[in-house]
Amino acid sequence: MANTVIGSSIVIDGEISGDEDLVIQGTVKGKISLKESLFVDSSGVVEADIETQNVEVSGKVTGNINASDKVELKSDCRVIGDIKAPRILIADGASFKGNVDMDVKER
C-alpha cells in the first residue's frame, strides 16, 4: 500500500507530483499533479492547481481542478475555482464557486 499522507500539521509550499494516491490533511500551496487519486480530508486545505485522475474533496480547495476521470465534492467541502472533468459529483451541503466544464472527451 503505497499511500502518501500529508498530516494535519504539515504545510507544504511548492509542487507535489507522483504516481500514487495522496491524502491531504494539512495544508498544501502550489501545484499538485498526480496520476492517481487525491483526497482532501476535512482538515485539509489546498491552495493549488490540481491535476489528477480523481479528486475527492471534503476540506477546502482554492484553485483549479483538472481531473481526467472524476471530481467529487463531499458534503462539507468548500471549493473555489474551476473544475474540469468528465464526471463531477457535488453532494448536498457542499459549497462551490466556479465554473464547471464536463466537456472532456473520454480517453
Binding site: 502518501t4 500514487e20 490533511q25 494539512g26
Partner: protein
C-alpha cells in the same frame, strides 16, 4: 511493506511521502515525517524526520531528530539528534548535539556538535573545533572503523588498517571521541 513501527506520540497522525511522490518546495510541520519518495527544497519540522532507504531528500533540513537510512543532500540541523543508519548516505553538514554514525553509513561533510565544554584541557593539542571538515576523496564513505583510541600520543600512529581507502583517515572521530559521537558497531 507497511511496517507500523509507530514511534509517534499520542496522536496517530503521521505524514508519509510515498515512494513515487516528488515534492518540490517548502515543507514544514509539527509531526513526524517519513520520506520514501523525493523531497527537494526546504524542510522544517518540530519532530522527527525519517528518511527511509528509498527516500531522497535534497534540502536544507531543520528538525528535532533525524534518522537517515536513505539519501540526503543538504545541511541537516537537528535540535536533538541525527542518526545515519547503515544504509544512510549523506552529503552535507550536520549540526546537532548528538550525532550517531553507524558502521556502513556514508557521509561527506562537516559535523558540528556545538559547544564542547571543559574536556579539552588534557589534550592540549587540539584547538577549538570539535570535529573538522573531512577531506574525503571522491567516493565518500567515511567509515568509522574502529574505536580509535589515540589518546595522548602527540605523533598520531599510522592509520588503522581497518579503513578501506588508502587515504589517510581523517581525525573525524578521534578528536571528539570522548564526547558524544556514538559509534555503534554492528555486530554482523
Amino acid at each position: 511493506m507497511a511496517n507500523p513501527k509507530d514511534t509517534s506520540s499520542s496522536s496517530g497522525d503521521n505524514t508519509v511521502i510515498g515512494p513515487s511522490i516528488v515534492i518540490n518546495g517548502k515543507l514544514s510541520g509539527d509531526e513526524d515525517l517519513t520520506v520514501r519518495g523525493r523531497l527537494e527544497g526546504e524542510l522544517s519540522l518540530t519532530k522527527t524526520l525519517i528518511v527511509e532507504p528509498s527516500g531522497v531528500v535534497k534540502a536544507n533540513v531543520d528538525v528535532k531528530n533525524a534518522v537517515i537510512s536513505g539519501a540526503v543532500v543538504g545541511n541537516v540541523d537537528a535540535a536533538e539528534s541525527v542518526e545515519l543508519t547503515k544504509e544512510g548516505r549523506m552529503i552535507g553538514d550536520i549540526r546537532s548535539p548528538r550525532v550517531i554514525l553507524v558502521d556502513g553509513a556514508s557521509l561527506r561533510g562537516r559535523i558540528d556538535m556545538g559547544e564542547v565544554k571543559g574536556e579539552r584541557s588534557e589534550k592540549g593539542a587540539r584547538p577549538a573545533r570539535a570535529v573538522r571538515a573531512v577531506p574525503v576523496p571522491a567516493r565518500p564513505a567515511v567509515r568509522i572503523a574502529g574505536k580509535s583510541k589515540l589518546e595522548g600520543k602527540p605523533p598520531p600512529p599510522p592509520p588503522p588498517s581497518g579503513s578501506r581507502s588508502g587515504a589517510p583517515v581523517p581525525p573525524l572521530v578521534a578528536a571528539g571521541s570522548r564526547r558524544r559521537v556514538v559509534v555503534k558497531k554492528k555486530a554482523r
